[in-house]
Symmetry: C2
Subunit: 286 residues, 2 copies
Amino acid sequence: MKALQDAKISIVGLGLMGGSLAGALRGQCRCVVGVDRNPQALEIGQSRALIDRGSEDLAVGVRGADIVVLSTPVRTILRLLDEIAPLLRPGCLLLDLGSTKTQIVAKMAGLPAHIEPLGGHPMCGKEKSGIESAEATLYRERTFILCPLPRTSPEALAQGQALVKAVGAQPLVLEAARQDFLAGTVSHLPYMLACALISTADATTSADPAVWEIVAGGFRDTSRVSAGNVSMWMDILLTNREEVLRAVATYQAQLAHLAGLLEKGDTTGLQKTLETIREKRLEMFP
Amino acid sequence: MKALQDAKISIVGLGLMGGSLAGALRGQCRCVVGVDRNPQALEIGQSRALIDRGSEDLAVGVRGADIVVLSTPVRTILRLLDEIAPLLRPGCLLLDLGSTKTQIVAKMAGLPAHIEPLGGHPMCGKEKSGIESAEATLYRERTFILCPLPRTSPEALAQGQALVKAVGAQPLVLEAARQDFLAGTVSHLPYMLACALISTADATTSADPAVWEIVAGGFRDTSRVSAGNVSMWMDILLTNREEVLRAVATYQAQLAHLAGLLEKGDTTGLQKTLETIREKRLEMFP
């Protein structure tokens, strides 16, 4: 496998994540090619110097690439895996940035033998999507999960880790099912909760105009992630359905327990529970 | 009633809220007296020039005051209303800063006729409590709810509004039950949700050390308010129990609805719902 500095890297999907990755890789490899069906994204990528060149055509864009990074929503990645294989040169590292990994890694297992597949999930993002919001610093000091397959060679994994370090992130090798279980609770569940909070307020208090004057930081923060990109979240929820539903069920039980203590007037039990929760939160985010 | 600049103001409870109010009022009235059982809070109040003088004794501290502000947790306010009445001069404005209003205003209705009661709830705060965290700017540009009673004179309400404006806040006159209904959903419900998220993570994913490396902004923001002061929250939940329980019940139904769409695989319904929610959130916080 080529050293990163000699590699030609093609990034398929020039949105927030792909554009930021391109910008962070530029100058650290032979060249960065952006691939996107939207010519405007390519124009922005070039005018902001995030890519060396761009192509609207997948076959042209990934031709001769040493590393191809799929940075589209998860269900598009799943579709791309079907069509991209014949376009790749032997030994090409095929990395993706999808937020859920079980389905992608399962599909990667069926790729032709000349490709080196590697699942990836960088733990960063922004509320605003699109290459307009891309920043070469987006990945810095963030965890970047890598899910190698049994067929992934040690050299390919090492190349993937070199790429992750080159953009300033910390690689964390994790099994796909374990990443989806963890992400289901710490990332996908908060999105469901934020959405349900907005719909609750909408169904009740929103009818009162005074509510806009008393909404404070707690509501704003607790509901923040509900403003995220819906297509991206649809992909995440649908490709991690079992884990998300399991997390929601556990959550409903925990919330019902808290409400039950309040309903019964069990002040000692409620206080003890809230204090334990507060301590856990402070341990998590000191 | 005296103009604010001629008034002697006593603030009972020199924590974050009381200390910040004192600092914002100082120089805009005749004098600010801090009252707290903890001599250290009084020392900090004086060394940081938030108060003109302090007293550990309630009777001494409120003697001759034109305005008394109760800035303790709600259940302490309820207790103080029993003992403070005989200590106040005729025509004294008695304002509180409690986060729930129905129970306080109901109790204020029974105060002797020589007192002018007025419920209050400033929509501001900080994660860190205590006078150490006090800032004279805390109230600036925030909404400050006022709940006058039928017995509150127009002059007393005007004086309360003058005080609110003096600290840089915007007064909003609201009926106590309406404020508690709204706060139940936009303030107290988010606290319950944040707590249940922490206890869910604690019951499931926390056993895996990798979880600490993948926790991202969504989890942090959605759980932030669970780190708040437990005594304060106990008071809020216990004195707004009905509204909080009602809000939790509505929330559980909304969350179950979202999870149901995902479970059934109703992608059209789910996408439409999430898009509506996203639009509402962007309307609320443009």
